[in-house]
């Protein structure tokens, strides 16, 4: 449960507080808080842990990591978990 996973920011809700974004993790979209990463912008790749972005990631790095996660099979499972809030 401690893994942080890279994803791409698809949409930022500028009016929200805390600042929230939609982030795409290899096809799975999640709501992510950007408050700890004020410099993150639209289409940036960010490293996310349990709904909070922790650092920016370069695109090549992010894509390779997501690919590896898909191969390993189980690392993306926690994104699929969760009853709708």
């Amino acid at each position: 449960m401690c893994l942080a996973i890279p994803g791409r920011i698809e949409y930022i809700d500028a009016a929200s507080n805390p600042k929230m974004a939609k982030v795409n993790f290899g096809g799975i979209i999640k709501n992510v808080c950007l408050d700890f990463l004020p410099e993150a912008g639209l289409h940036d790749y960010v490293l996310v842990h349990v709904g909070v972005a922790l650092t920016k990631v370069d695109e090549k790095e992010a894509l390779e990591t997501i690919e590896l996660f898909k191969q390993m099979g189980d690392a993306l499972d926690e994104l699929k978990e969760g009853d709708p809030a």
Binding site: M1, C2, C33, V50, T55, T65, E78
Partner: protein, 375 residues
């Protein structure tokens, strides 16, 4: 070379492995802290790429595993209450307490919900003002910013029906507890990359100095781990005891400062009991006094709950790197992931479950002669 399929860059991995063989002239025992790394090492069969004189032991860095049994029991007691929505990361639902687990509470009609993020639990509280919403806040430093943010949001929204059952633990005090023990045999550490993404790595520099132990901040992909091991063994062979950062693409020296500020808005450092290890001073977070009304233990006046661990379980030794899982008499028979007796069998990131799931016991036992060897 076999076993290279799970590596992002097999050629780089092969050259790392060859270099590790080249620099290693003596037996060394090194520990990875993070459960994600344990999982990655065992699953990828990475030990097959290492010299037999290197012993990799698995540390206490799995939050699901080290959450005390008493806390699981408290979670179950709260989740059974009629007016409660109990929210948690999925992993915690499967952890057995003394007589039940959260999944069973849910099956029996309790409102237990898996959330992806603690912020989702705050949303549930907003939408259900007539219910008490409790979030099971477990984790290491990586998870603390999200949990702190949830409490902060509940505070700003003046939510009276949200609270957390808090069992937060910290990596450096656990390393210090291992290092200061007379039975310690760990000579070098791979520190947990994502923990350092949040906290930075300055707090590890005095540890490396005080205990003369090299520490390499390392990512969790198999190639990262091989790279971290090469850096660590190079230091050991050269007699250096420094902090080095293998994972610089994700970890800055100072970490994520706004995230740290949020942690310390809400939490203060406190003593914590670790399952399998016992109490470690100043090894976790608890809510600050101003936020104590968000503490589920206070809100539900749970008092002291005590639960006995199985006498067969040698988790304390496993989490300190003194034994490997297959050296436990219960491993794979009385104790399996379906009915775990102890902490490291509970989550797939625990050492016992990782060995069980990926059937490494045979591979590992061929090298197990070195497990008890004194260096």
């Amino acid at each position: 070379m076999k076993y290279l399929d799970e590596f992002r860059d097999p050629i780089f991995a092969k050259s790392l492995s060859e270099n590790i063989h080249k620099v290693t002239t003596r037996p060394w025992t090194i520990m990875e802290i993070c459960g994600g790394q344990t999982h990655s090492i065992v699953k990828s069969g990475l030990e097959n790429l290492l010299p037999s004189s290197l012993s990799i032991v698995h540390g206490p860095g799995c939050p699901v595993c080290v959450t005390p049994l008493e806390m699981i029991e408290k979670a179950i007691l709260i989740a059974r209450k009629p007016n409660v929505i109990f929210t948690s990361f999925g992993d915690m639902l499967r952890v057995p307490g003394s007589t039940s687990d959260l999944l069973t509470v849910k099956a029996n009609g309790g409102d237990v919900r898996i959330v992806y993020s603690p912020l989702d639990a705050v949303t549930i509280a907003e939408k259900n003002p007539d219910k008490e919403v409790v979030f099971f806040a477990v984790g290491f430093e990586t998870t603390a910013p999200a949990n702190a943010m949830a409490v902060w949001q509940a505070h700003k929204k003046n939510l009276k029906n949200f609270s957390i059952l808090c069992s937060h633990v910290l990596v450096p005090p656990a390393m210090e507890a291992l290092l200061s023990s007379s039975t310690n045999r760990v000579q070098g550490f791979l520190a947990a990359g994502h923990v350092c993404t949040v906290m930075g790595y300055e707090e590890y520099i005095p540890l490396a100095k005080k205990y003369n132990v090299p520490i390499v901040v390392t990512g969790f992909e198999p190639t990262d781990i091989l790279h971290g091991i090469l850096m660590l063994v190079t230091q050991l062979e050269e007699g250096r005891c420094e902090l080095e950062n293998q994972y610089s693409r994700m970890v800055k020296k100072e970490g994520n400062i706004p995230a740290q500020q949020m942690i310390f808005n809400v939490f203060e450092i406190s003593h914590r009991k670790w399952r399998g290890i016992g109490e470690i001073p100043k090894s976790g977070y608890s809510l600050k006094k101003e936020f104590i009304h968000f503490d589920a233990e206070e809100k539900f006046s749970l008092g002291i709950v005590s639960v006995e661990e199985s006498p067969l379980c040698i988790a304390g030794n496993i989490l300190r790197g003194l034994n490997k899982p297959f050296e436990c008499s219960a491993f794979g028979n009385q104790c399996t992931p379906e009915s775990p007796l102890g902490a490291p069998m509970v989550s797939s990131e625990g050492a016992c479950a990782a060995y069980y799931n990926y059937k490494r016991q045979n591979v590992a036992s061929s090298g197990s002669g070195m497990v008890n060897k004194k260096h």
